[in-house]
Symmetry: C2
Subunit: 267 residues, 2 copies
């Protein structure tokens, strides 16, 4: 599991270990996977039966346009080369709803480029497109984490009007989707979502209720982000029907879990 110490990688490794798999979690300190020769050698040396490739540039301030996205494309070609040399390795990668945005960002384009390469690679591959998520260890600059943390600190939480429709999942349910894709032979891309999209303001209102301070949420205090689409929603058909995935958390349960985690860790 590359990115095995990251937001999705952490629960993915926990689920895989709990299911009895032998897991090698790679974090950024273990190897620079942006170096294709290093990535290729790593596949040769570890000889995995499956690769879950989650590592990528993740800094919310930079990832949309940073040229480092190109380095992650390169590193991923090294993983693909390693798999082609080893033979028989199943490759599951993390895509993004950004692949659907027009005009594309460098991030979305880089994810789409890797998906195209996998499609032509001849490998057994799957590509789970992550849409929206929240949960333990979320980056504090992401909207759900930001609102929960502010409220737990007794501070106002300014937000946009929140009319944009999204499908939010607890990160553990996202991880569960990747585990299902590792364990089943599905080939191709699939979206990761509950199938129940709601306006963002519903998510934030429920988060505020779970945090016990609904009066501190300031919907409409921030302007809408330029280019933020009014509706960005996954098609969960393949995930449910071909991978047999079901979410463990309802939105209320998931947000309550996130609030409990931030309460214990926000300090």
């Amino acid at each position: 599991v590359t990115g095995g110490t990251g937001f999705v990688g952490r629960p993915a490794c926990a689920l895989l270990t709990a299911a009895g798999h032998q897991v090698h979690a790679l974090g950024s300190r273990d190897a620079d996977l942006r170096d294709p020769a290093r990535a290729r050698a790593l596949v040769r040396d570890l000889a995995p039966s499956h690769i879950l490739h989650l590592a990528w540039i993740a800094d919310p301030d930079r990832f949309w346009t940073d040229p480092e996205n190109l380095a992650w494309v390169r590193g991923t070609t090294g993983l693909i080369e390693g798999c082609l040399e080893a033979g028989g390795v199943r490759f599951v990668g993390a895509g993004s709803c950004a692949e659907r945005l027009e005009p594309p960002t460098l991030y979305g384009a880089s994810k789409a480029a890797v998906r195209a390469l996998l499609e032509g690679s001849g490998l057994s591959w799957a590509w789970g497109r992550i849409f929206h998520l929240y949960g333990p260890h979320e980056h504090p600059k992401k909207v759900v984490a930001m609102v929960i943390r502010s409220l737990l600190h007794g501070q106002e939480a300014p937000a946009t009007s929140g009319e944009q429709v999204r499908d939010f999942l607890h990160v553990e349910d996202v991880a569960r989707a990747f585990v299902a894709a590792l364990e089943r032979p599905l080939v191709g891309a699939f979206d990761i979502g509950s199938g129940q999209a709601v306006p963002l303001k519903h998510v934030l209102e429920r988060a505020a209720q779970a945090a016990g301070r609904p009066e501190l949420l300031r919907l409409g205090a921030l302007p809408a982000r330029a280019g933020d689409p009014p509706r960005l929603v996954p098609d969960s058909t393949r995930l449910r029907e071909e991978l047999g995935w079901r979410p463990r958390f309802s939105l209320e349960e998931g947000l309550a879990d996130a609030v409990a985690w931030w309460r214990a860790h926000a300090a």
Copy 2:
């Protein structure tokens, strides 16, 4: 011009030089452009106003599936990085009709991946999809060159039945399309073709007539290639309307030119 000593690069450089541009033609001996750091440094050192990126694995026996395609994706990301750093560089690349084939080959997927990256890069970019071509310096394993050479040697030329519909251009007209894309501000992908698709057998019959030995052409002597689509045809609308391109050669004139060249060089 990367691949500046190659099949399309050679006439492209000649046309650019004739048009008064200062041209730096890079061949495989000048630099290994599969190395992204080398490619990036080259853009920095040469500081071009425009890049025409034609270099890629071209061996007809290998290019469809060879993992070296991944190295060309990597090298191209280095060129893109160099352009992003330099700013203001116009980037024109060579795509392929293979981007249209299903299921995709690693070659077609790699070309599609680069196109996706350009789309997200923010550069001024164009992407000319090469379909079918012939002419001086063609690889002797390609069908038109093979037929012409066999006939000029007085040998039989076995071919498929040639029912598959294709749009063949003289390589100089393909090069002219890339020159037009360098000189105009069109952004995005365009197909390179005459707009007049014909069954392959018509092309081979005319080539055989131009070579003066039509009786040696053996249409139907070879089985159809597995996966060869019955129709693979460019849409030349953007090329003609937005780039103002017109072919210089009719099919008869172009094939006559190719035969004359092979007569002088086949030895």
